[in-house]
Symmetry: C2
Subunit: 284 residues, 2 copies
DNA sequence: CGTCTAGTTGAATCGCATCAACAAGCGTGG
DNA sequence: CCACGCTTGTTGATGCGATTCAACTAGACG
């Protein structure tokens, strides 16, 4: 709620916030070690209390914006639990082009796609200053053996991630560019909200290029789509600053009207009230 | 090796093979129960011997072609290990259209995307008669606790699947229709080979529609692409029967020549020798 | 102040989807 | 046995949506 107000301020305020690792909801911002109970809580285990008496502690790592958290091909020996900051994970195709896989943030775990290998299968890059908890793989696994809820949490993380990837895959096959961008914005909105930020106003931490890569589009298409949604009044865009004006319109979006025929505007939404008030100014 | 020769026979032989569940490499074709050691071996655990003395046994289930193995929304309580047969897993989008997620076959595990939930997150449909080993989730998890290699195998399965999905996602974003189909054929080829079948000649078990859904294309595009590859001589297609004539050409394929300008044919391959001998008849 | 990256916007192109017609395989039942 | 419907696959014509190429603007940074 405190952050809520911070975010609701002007753009400059948010840019300030972006520059440092301080996050108001930390118990102790500069903590260097976390207990197992902390980690358990982070991963939403059912009973972190039972971990209270464990003596292990986990090291915190700090990364500056732009730094690599782990590189492709680097020896795999740990998972990374994001405590604060914004990250992108990428893959490189045969031509060296990078494909964005995900935008992990607080509470997300990195490296799960590499547990079967001795090398990291992807690369993680800090998009802002980050505070990350190092979870050495062997330590974690052996703790799982004694803490059933922790083990279940790990399974859940992996499984949930798998299910999410499937949803994305499905979306890629069917949806239009507009629908993808709309869903992306909605998903971001929900994630920010669940972290205590505003649901309606937030800052994209990534470039248009990164968004495009993530969604399977080009940066131009992303830019155009954002502009179009802005034009319609569904969202307000100014650089990376986004305000969602009509979430339900975003949810119901199928495709945007072609610039030529504005008469078919109503077809683009399915029974959303925005069709009416967005149409009025557009047609006048 | 025995199966190899079977497959290398005529098409009619293979069609016969498709009709029944008999698979020559079973220890006992009609087995109803498997031991933990069997399962461990199946999952490529490092030391299945240590599981010899476990008294648990796992039930086999039989499904006929077209039957659902598990349905979306059904209560999740077990993973399924494919012992024989061909399966497709699907998801349904908001309009009820089905999105193909995967084509599991022998040795693959179903249901991993549902471990975090109390319901299956996707649907599995038998494309041929199938023999499947039921792995009750709770039983499996508790066995993991006492058999470290088994636990590691489960982690590996999940992680590997995640990594594969990422690769697919990446491919969807960048590759052309031709490249996707080519990669799909190569991947199938390798899987069949690893199961003891021929690497070069095999039978697609799925429709063009299913392939299209899996690859994010329409069935027409899949059909056209297969026809074009056939025309070039890179593969031979007859209905669902595929023969790969030049695997390296498939691997190096970027995009097919447009029907209008055959002069730029060489651009479509990167230094493959097929460019030469495929060009000759095409240009003459 | 110039350079570099990020973002916007326009015009032309192209790849794939869409729509449609048709052929082939297959099971069913007269 | 062929007639019939149904599913699957092929192929052509057309149009749209997204990419591509390009020009331009606006901040960021040393």
């Amino acid at each position: 709620m405190l952050k809520e107000s911070v975010i609701m301020h002007s753009i400059s305020d948010i840019h300030q916030d972006e520059g440092n690792t301080v996050c108001s909801n930390w118990a102790s911002p500069n903590k260097l070690w976390s207990s197992l109970a902390d980690v358990g809580e982070f991963l939403h285990t059912s009973a972190p209390q039972t971990m209270q008496h464990e003596k292990v502690s986990f090291q915190h790592l700090h990364f500056k914006a732009g730094q690599r958290i782990h590189a492709l091909g680097q020896e795999f020996d740990a998972l990374y639990l994001v405590n604060s900051g914004f990250i992108k994970t990428v893959l490189f195709d045969e031509n060296g082009y990078e494909q964005v896989l995900n935008f992990p943030m607080k509470g997300d775990v990195l490296g799960m796609d590499s547990m079967h290998s001795h090398e990291y299968a992807s690369e993680a890059i800090a998009m802002s200053d980050c505070d990350i908890i190092l979870l050495p793989y062997k330590t974690l696994i052996s703790l799982c053996r004694s803490h059933e809820q922790l083990e279940q949490a790990i399974y859940s993380l992996l499984s949930r991630e798998l299910a999410r990837q499937q949803q994305r895959l499905s979306m890629h096959g069917t949806s239009s560019a507009e629908a993808r961008v709309a869903k992306f914005l909605l998903a971001l909105s929900e994630r920010f909200y669940s972290l205590g930020y505003s649901r309606t106003t937030f800052n994209l931490r990534m470039t248009r290029n990164d968004i495009g890569s993530y969604l399977g589009l080009t940066l131009e298409t992303v830019s155009r789509t954002l502009s179009a949604l802005n034009e319609l009044g569904v969202i307000s865009v100014s650089q990376r600053q986004i305000t969602i004006n009509d979430a339900s319109a975003l949810r119901n979006l199928r495709k945007l009207p072609s610039t030529k025929l504005k008469t078919k505007l109503t077809e683009c939404f399915q029974g959303s009230h925005i069709a009416n008030w967005a149409l009025a100014p557009a047609l006048s």
